[in-house]
Amino acid sequence: MTELLSLKGLTKAYPGVVANDDVTLSIGKGEVHALLGENGAGKSTLVKMIYGLVKPDSGEMTFDGEVFLPPEPRAARAAGVGMVFQHFSLFDALSVAENIALGMEDAPKMNTLSERISEVSDTYGLPLSPDRIVGDLSAGERQRVEIIRCLLQAPRLLIMDEPTSVLTPQEVDILFETLRKLRGEGTSILYISHKLEEIRALCDAATILRLGKVVGTCIPRDTTARDMAEMMVGKVLTTPKRSGVSLGEVVLELDGLSLPSPSAFGMPLRDVSFALQKGEILGIGGVAGNGQDELLAALSGEMRAPAGMLRFKGQSIGGDGPVRRRQMGVLAAPEERLGHAAAPDMSLTENAMLTGAVREGLEQNGFLNWPAARGFAQTIIEAFDVRTPGPANAARSLSGGNLQKFVIGREVLQRPEVLVVNQPTWGVDASAAAAIRQALLDLAEAGAAVVVISQDLDELMEISDRFAALNEGRLSAPRPTEGLTVEQIGLMMGGAHGMEVAHV
């Protein structure tokens, strides 16, 4: 196999951290190469250098035998590098064709472009009408828009950053068919992920990064997932454990909860019902944008519900706001750390006050006790091993994982009776994620009822007693986690959302 892209001794340092240290890597023509590593291992920095977003401090790159140092993404695209980002940059209110035209340097006329889009989507088994409005598309279809946008430029190297994080298992299968077809035509793919089974199913070679350095390479098919995980993390992983499960009486009940979404392209909740017992962890899976944010808002009190749809210990709480619910013991931690769970520019002390005021007795007659809030922040920092110089530091100065530990710790330490968390370990490194999961398990063991909303199915399988999936605002009936197959989970998540399989 001839070499397409080769990186030699690539190094990039930011103030205080070396993001990439002497990285060497080579991708052959028609090879699917996995780039594996934890969050913060330097995967993003590396692909940004290839895509011309970041300039390396030292080292060299060659592309198809020639020295390659793109000063900007445009140059990288011209050379034949395409990238599909993890977070889509699409405008909800525009059509597929309009979105694609916006990302092109020399966009052809709309008619011509629409024809080319149809052509490419047929060839690669990515059925998609150019006239549809992006706001109406599922996450998998939105990803198709991004992929087609890249394929229109006929790339020789396609970079895909965590492409499956927004897909159901069935949608993943469809994507893999497309990628295999591309490989068959000689297109190289750099596939970034931390999902090991996927990499074993798809990739020809893998390079593993840890703390900016290459710590190993392997042929994924011949390596076990556990071995790859340990290379990635650098230590033997301890899986969270819970001892005996003893469920108590029902504390939280949702009875046909239906609510419109507050935002135009949000998802309304449709007839969501479940009953949650003391000591139980209910895992709620589903592709992002299927009502997760709305469900959290309905449970935290940010969105009010009509009487009777939401009951805590038999008492209707739908009309109560977040403060009343906290008083009763219903606590929540939203997905978005900066700006929703925490105020970015405020100190950790102030962020501890944000939700701790009532239950921690940080407020009396409306007057705030700042020394006590500082003490509470300090307690969270110590109990959850939050790495920060102290509670006076601004929330945004913390790394994602540390802030997430702070946010989860803040709620867990308030001794909730019901805790609802959305994406508790999103963007968090493996050891912090394990600590957070353990804290949730301990909380349940101590008698609290926990709802974990997550897109990480492995996480849900690991910690939850029962599993349900949100799909288009509807919640499937919860089923015991034990014995669930990937196939069943995928169907609960809505299967392939009616997407056609690639015609290869």
């Binding site: 940010e302 706001g321 929703h340 105020a343 405020m346 007057f367 601004a394």
Partner: protein, 360 residues
């Protein structure tokens, strides 16, 4: 290449140094401006900043500082409540006028009865007038999602028309020989907002401003309402998550700022101005916006900024009469102050980096 880089934490040093740097830069560039107009820059700056405080006629100017500063501070404190929460009341001038009209109207209705109850009643009426005027943008925003900036600003012009109608009609002095304008409240002891100590400039409005400053300080430092305001300004979703009701906050912030603006109007019309006339309002409501930002939306800062702004007004008048500086040049000078303040403010959250730019 020079570029800005976001600081991991806001710089405390710059938060405090910004006003000082802005004043110094204004001295420098204002000096250049005055020099370009053919005036001695040092003399001009000294005339504006030194003369009112320590010059020959300072006995006259110093009380003026309180008289001009008090309404600015009173209004700016109210505005700062909303501004911190991202609720933009731009119509304080209108609330100031309505407070003055309602308050003066109550006083004039009792003329010529003398009673100690009349002035307190006028104060209440003034506060209510300003508050109700501010309730219009507040309720429209809460109920229909209208933009409070536009509504409150446009209501200024409505209030001005109202003021003209009142001073030419309903409130016109029957013994005023047909001249527009109401009776002079300075000559109606029960309704006169007289100086507490003669010749000091210290009238009830100054006291009210000080009380407002203390209230605002405690509110922001210790009370949950102040905290709710700050969180809403910093991160609205986080505020909602913590349990803040955004609608109630809009009503509170606009109501409180309208009330304080109305009070300022009442104290002005019953004291230094004395009379409801077509143009008794001199733009305090708009200048207070500058004062609020110059004072970094901080109660103590607003006091200093209000005094500084009053000083440039008084000094500017002196410079106009003594040095024949054009009024427009003084306004440019005041504008520079706000401009430099906002410019230097960037450094609180950003720092300069020299080197190649990079999209990371």
């Amino acid at each position: 290449m020079v570029r800005f880089e976001k600081r991991p934490q806001p710089s405390r040093l710059f938060a405090y140094a910004t006003p000082l740097l802005a004043v110094l830069a204004t001295f420098f560039f204002g000096g250049l401006l005055f020099a370009a107009l053919g005036k001695d820059p040092v003399v001009s700056i000294v005339t504006i900043f030194w003369e009112p405080l320590f010059g020959e006629f300072s006995f006259f100017y110093r009380p003026q500082l309180l008289i001009k500063g008090a309404p600015l501070v009173l209004i700016a404190i109210g505005l700062s409540l909303g501004f911190k929460a991202g609720i933009w009341n731009i119509g304080a001038e209108g609330q100031y006028i309505m407070g003055a009209l309602v308050g003066a109207g109550v006083g004039l209705a009792f003329y010529p009865t003398e009673s100690v109850l009349i002035f307190p009643l006028m104060v209440l009426a003034g506060a209510l007038g300003g508050m109700l005027w501010a309730m219009i943008p507040a309720l429209l925003k809460v109920r229909f999602g209208t933009n409070e900036i536009l509504v409150s600003l446009m209501l200024v012009y409505v209030a001005e028309q109202f003021l003209a109608s009142m001073s030419l009609g309903l409130l016109k002095n029957p013994e005023g020989f047909g001249f527009p304008g109401s009776r002079n409240l300075q000559q109606y002891p029960s309704a006169h907002n007289a100086e507490i100590i003669a010749g000091s400039g210290m009238h009830c409005g100054v006291v009210a401003a000080l009380i407002a400053v203390i209230f605002a300080y405690v509110l922001f430092a210790r009370h949950k309402l102040g905290f709710a305001i700050r969180v809403t300004g910093e991160a609205p979703r986080a505020a909602r998550f913590s349990g803040v009701n955004p609608s109630r906050l809009v009503v509170f912030c606009l109501g409180a700022s309208g009330m304080l603006a109305g009070l300022a109007g009442l104290f002005e019309v019953s004291g230094p101005a004395g009379q409801v006339t077509i143009d008794f309002n001199v733009g305090y409501g708009f200048t207070a916006i500058i004062v609020a930002f110059l004072g970094r939306l901080n109660p103590i800062g607003i006091v200093l900024a209000g005094l500084l702004m009053a000083l440039t007004y008084i000094g500017g008048d002196i410079a106009q009469s003594q040095l024949q500086l054009p009024a427009a040049a003084i306004q440019v000078f005041q504008g520079m102050l706000l401009f430099f303040l906002l410019a230097f403010d960037l450094f609180t959250n950003y720092r300069l980096r020299f080197g190649r730019s990079e999209v990371a």
